[in-house]
């Protein structure tokens, strides 16, 4: 009996030490590669955001502060951007057409912005319209404050639900002790606005004037992936953890996702941030990556173009330089696979209106994944 207990102890210890290093399921290399890729447009250093205007035309943001319009693979620089504060991880960030783009022509984008009285910058959301290669009617819809010269954690991604709301993310701006848990301040939040930029009357924190009323959820570190689930319509977000502990979360109104009170990660220096990974009142992630993959960009494959990929989630890895395919069943990740292994730092992934997956790779440009037939 005693021996058996010891054995269980030994086993528990073993599995604990395994968990400390990695969280399953283990990433698999493709056994049979039945896809290839072509470069749609090349020579972009950091292709952060991508949005299709139609089947043959899309817009790409380059972090350094350039917006490209690409028609049939030929890129032209678009004029008329507001000031972009290129600093550290910040610059020109995500871009997305409005759900009613065909009627309104409205396009949203986020950028690191120096606007405001304080030195430094914070993430801003704009709406705009495109006339030829010129942005017109550009309006500032939201600007985080207070500005800081910190280079970290600006977010940012944009998505929409099916009820006429826009969601976007701002990271904790390098001030984890203050921003993510304080709903009277910006940073470390997912925000929800109406399409005209006004604040929805049923946002979770509108009842107190001290609160930032655009906040929808908080306790986030640095969300750089956001996608609306094609069936549930819920907003799925992933965020960079510190060393270890990148997370996927399904966002619910008013919820606290725990950063930095709970995390599966540790400081870059190797010292702990907190000794707890769970706490009542704080949400657990749907999945966490350990070790960190440094996730950026997020898309579901909803078309019939790729055999066996329909319904799967795709996430770019900056760190390991591949695109990750995640198979999800009953809100559990059951399989992970490397797609486009060693392709380079994957910054973004989008499903085009043609059902193909388009990948933004740093130093390369936009790639299109094509099944081998």
């Amino acid at each position: 009996m005693k021996k058996k207990n010891l054995l269980i102890c030994g086993f528990t210890f073993l599995s604990f030490s395994c968990n400390a290093q990695q969280n399953g399921p283990k990433i698999q290399s493709s056994t049979t590669v039945d896809y290839t890729y072509e470069i749609v447009t090349d020579n972009i250093d950091i292709p952060w955001g991508l949005t299709f205007l139609n089947k043959n035309e899309f817009l790409v943001t380059e972090k350094a502060g350039i917006l490209y319009r690409v028609v049939d693979g030929v890129k032209t620089e678009v004029q008329g951007l507001p000031p972009v504060y290129v600093r550290g991880q910040g610059g020109l960030l995500d871009i997305a057409i409005a759900p009613n783009y065909q009627e309104t022509g409205i396009i949203y984008f986020t950028t690191s912005s120096p606007l405001g009285e304080d030195k430094g910058g914070h993430t801003a959301l704009y709406s705009t319209q495109l006339e030829g290669n010129q942005l017109v009617n550009t309006k500032l819809l939201y600007k985080g404050d207070y500005n800081t010269k910190k280079g970290q954690h600006w977010g940012s991604r944009i998505s929409f639900d099916h009820q006429g709301h826009l969601y976007f993310s701002i990271g904790d701006r390098g001030n984890r002790e203050v921003n993510p848990q304080d709903i009277s301040r910006d940073g470390g939040k997912i925000y929800r606005l109406n399409l005209d930029g006004s604040i929805p009357a049923d946002n979770p924190f509108v009842d107190n004037d001290n609160n930032r009323k655009a906040i929808y959820s908080y306790g986030h570190r640095n969300p750089q992936g956001m996608i609306t689930h094609p069936e549930s319509g819920k907003i799925w977000v992933h965020e960079h953890g510190p060393r270890g502990g990148d997370e996927i979360n399904v966002i619910e109104a008013g919820k606290n996702y725990g950063w930095p009170i709970i995390t599966y990660g540790i400081n870059y220096s190797g010292t702990p941030i907190t000794d707890i990974t769970k706490k009542e009142g704080l949400e657990q992630p749907l999945y966490y990556w350990l070790p960190s993959i440094a996730p950026s960009g997020m898309a579901f494959s909803t078309s019939d173009i790729y055999p066996n990929w329909k319904g799967d989630l795709f996430v770019g890895s900056l760190k390991f330089e591949y695109l990750e395919r995640l198979e999800i069943k009953n809100n559990q990740v059951i399989e992970r696979e490397k797609v486009l292994d060693s392709i380079g730092r994957v910054r973004n992934i989008e499903e085009g209106p043609d059902g193909y997956l388009y990948v933004g790779v740093e130093g390369k440009g936009i790639l299109k994944i094509i099944p081998k037939s």
């Binding site: 250093d45 950091i46 504060y85 290129v86 910040g90 130093g363």
Partner: protein, 132 residues
């Protein structure tokens, strides 16, 4: 009165002298450490050791012997093939958007940390003189 006048003059010249002087090296190194933690540490690591084959080391790095080229890399970014301590690196270090004073500070920190030492003090003026 005369004494007071000369005192004021001295005080004024000290103040104006200081205004044009680079801040003390110790302060610059301390400020540079903060910049390093914010903008550089994630790739070049806490002790400047880098990641072999991916991110070049700054600790005892022969690349730093060319000060101008090091400042240039921080100021404008660096792309393509470089060799550091005999190891090849192909990468893309993006321009971090640092101000000239911050580049001077982080250079002073790097040049005086992890076994590195330098007789040269990097000033804002030196950084300003490095053109594209």
């Amino acid at each position: 009165m005369r004494l007071l006048y000369s005192f004021l003059l001295t005080a004024f010249s000290i103040t104006s002298f200081n205004f044009y002087q680079q801040k003390p090296l110790e302060q610059s190194i301390a400020d540079g450490k903060e910049i390093y933690t914010d903008f550089c540490l994630q790739c070049h690591m806490a002790k400047g050791e880098g990641v072999k084959g991916t991110f070049p080391p700054l600790a005892k790095s022969d690349y730093l012997k060319d000060i101008d080229q090091s400042i240039y890399a921080i100021k404008y970014g660096l792309k393509g093939l470089i060799k550091v301590n005999g190891v090849s690196y192909i990468g893309n270090m993006i321009n971090q958007g640092l101000e000239e004073e911050e580049i001077a500070d982080v250079m002073n920190y790097i040049l005086n940390s992890w076994g590195n030492s330098s007789t040269v003090i990097i000033t804002e003026e030196i950084v300003a003189s490095i053109k594209k």
